[in-house]
Symmetry: C2
Subunit: 328 residues, 2 copies
């Protein structure tokens, strides 16, 4: 190992913080996780991150001088320029956090590449797709997104590009979103949204359905249960999934009509439903997207799973992605 040959990628989540140690060629040497301590307004989160990096470097016989840089994907509104994260409420961070300063206090004064967690996963998926232009949609508790153009993360004029979860759904279920608006895509197409839709549809559903019975018996309803029941051809489950995949298909078409990326990549926990989800989305996409866009933009499932964040974070360092913020 030469000097400056180690890269750290970090995926900062509300429950765990995931780390990857990579060579400057992107080979993964080690991954590990620590709990994310959201107590006391999350004031230990960044110090814990620093300590964990320092101790792992020692364990592996590296020094911080060998670090080419550290990449971090974080929830909330992230500023590469300022080295800060704000509005990351699920971390307990109501106030703006100066990440760069804390890293410097821990003698980790190396190039720091910060981006939003969904952007970071998008960058990871783009790098393994060997694609320079992709849009990533993550379907989890919420719906997030990231846009990669010319190998750079599109941040937008206020770090708010890729807000796919807040595309306006044409379904008009009237659910209020965490952002304060009504009928955002996230309110129907997230794991929570799928459950919301199932409850609403069950109220007027008259056919035989296991999902219907589970709702009537006050059992716990999850997105996974709904998709599992689709495999059994449960009619209410199918109806619910048709509703959300319609909306996702329209969203993919609208995104692809604007950006015409090589692919729209669908990840996040809900994407574990796999081809059931994908095929339904694609069938709507093919009806709705502009013909040339339909022929040239692929809709596909993500491949990195939980490693998308740390991969993207490391790739930001390797590809010198900090430049994006100066350009946009």
């Amino acid at each position: 190992m030469n000097e400056k040959d180690i890269v750290i990628g970090i995926d900062l989540g509300g429950t765990t913080t995931k780390f990857g140690m990579y060579t400057s060629e992107g080979t993964c040497l080690e991954t590990w996780t620590i709990p994310t301590d959201t107590n006391e307004a999350g004031k230990q989160i960044v110090p814990n991150m620093c300590k964990s990096i320092l101790s792992t470097l020692v364990d592996k016989n590296y020094t911080s001088k060998q670090l080419l840089g550290i990449g971090i994907g974080a929830p909330g509104v992230v500023s590469q320029e300022e080295g800060t994260v704000k509005n990351a409420f699920n971390l307990g961070w109501a106030k703006t956090q100066d990440i760069r300063k804390t890293f410097q206090q821990y003698d980790l004064d190396v190039p720091l590449y910060l981006t939003n967690d969904a952007n970071c996963a998008a960058y990871g998926e783009a790098s393994v797709s060997h694609a320079s232009n992709i849009v990533f949609i993550t379907l989890g508790t919420g719906v997030g997104g990231g846009v990669v153009i010319n190998n750079s993360i599109l941040t937008g004029t206020a770090n708010s590009a890729g807000e796919i979860g807040h595309l306006h759904s044409s379904l008009n279920y009237g659910f209020t979103c965490t952002c304060g608006n009504e009928n955002c895509l996230e309110t129907v197409a997230s794991a929570t949204g799928i459950v919301n839709v199932a409850y609403v549809e069950s109220k007027t559903f008259m056919e035989d359905s296991k999902l219907q019975k589970a709702i009537e018996n006050d059992e716990e309803i999850t997105a996974k249960l709904v998709f599992d029941l689709v495999k059994e051809n449960d009619k209410l489950a199918c109806k619910g999934v048709d509703v959300i995949t319609y909306d996702l298909g329209v969203a993919c078409a609208n995104i692809a009509n604007i950006v015409n990326p090589e692919s729209v990549i669908i990840g996040g926990g809900v994407s574990q439903a796999g081809n059931i989800l994908l095929h339904k989305i694609v069938s709507v996409f093919e009806k709705v997207a502009f013909p040339l866009v339909r022929q040239s933009t692929d809709i596909k499932l993500a491949t990195l799973g939980n490693d998308a964040g740390i991969t993207g974070a490391a790739q930001m360092v390797i590809q010198g992605e900090a430049k994006y913020d100066e350009n946009f």
Copy 2:
């Protein structure tokens, strides 16, 4: 004037071809138009263009050696790389046209910058806005669009980025679009679409309305008439315009949530309706766009009018925009 100090920008339309002669600093020296001869499958269009440039150069005491380059915005599917235009049916061009070759045959073997007409207008509007990131929507007979990111036209993976006219409308009027799909934005928000909507709405409209009477009397209905009647508070006209501005407001929000540009700029003939149109679009945008996007992306009217195309075409040459095709 030094050598290579003259730039020609061309806006190729179905009725007229508009030319602008500029300095390499972008100062306009001359504009002129010639009819677009769509006879015989439009075979004279490019030769006429070349002859008109050559004769104007002579008139103004310039030589073709002084040309820094020629920019062209053309309808259809345009390839900068190949120097071709295809699918420009309103020019009579059913077959692919090798524009670059014809220019070379006329001894105009200078750098040629080709893009789609809506992209070209977008580039013109971006240049006068001094903005590096904008989305342009042109509301004319159809609805077109262009996306400018980091001062470059976003072409997409198959030259199909910015197909704003084919965003899926949530209105479900069921109009079939020229692209073959149903419910594209263009089917309701173009000049033709506004008239379509007025006819459909009039069928169930029961209140007193001049527009309603004009329709009943088989008078000619135009988008301009509808907007003129909105100024008189005609109820059917207001209803029609509310419908289309709702859809445009949602489209602007969805676009801005994905790209978060500095502004979404609305141009084309319909935009001459001015603030009546703009204010209604903005009021929907503000309800629907993600809060941070709403605060950071402006919705505004275009300022260049019919000169957007020639300005953008000249700016492509001045800013060396041919690079975009290699990058995307």
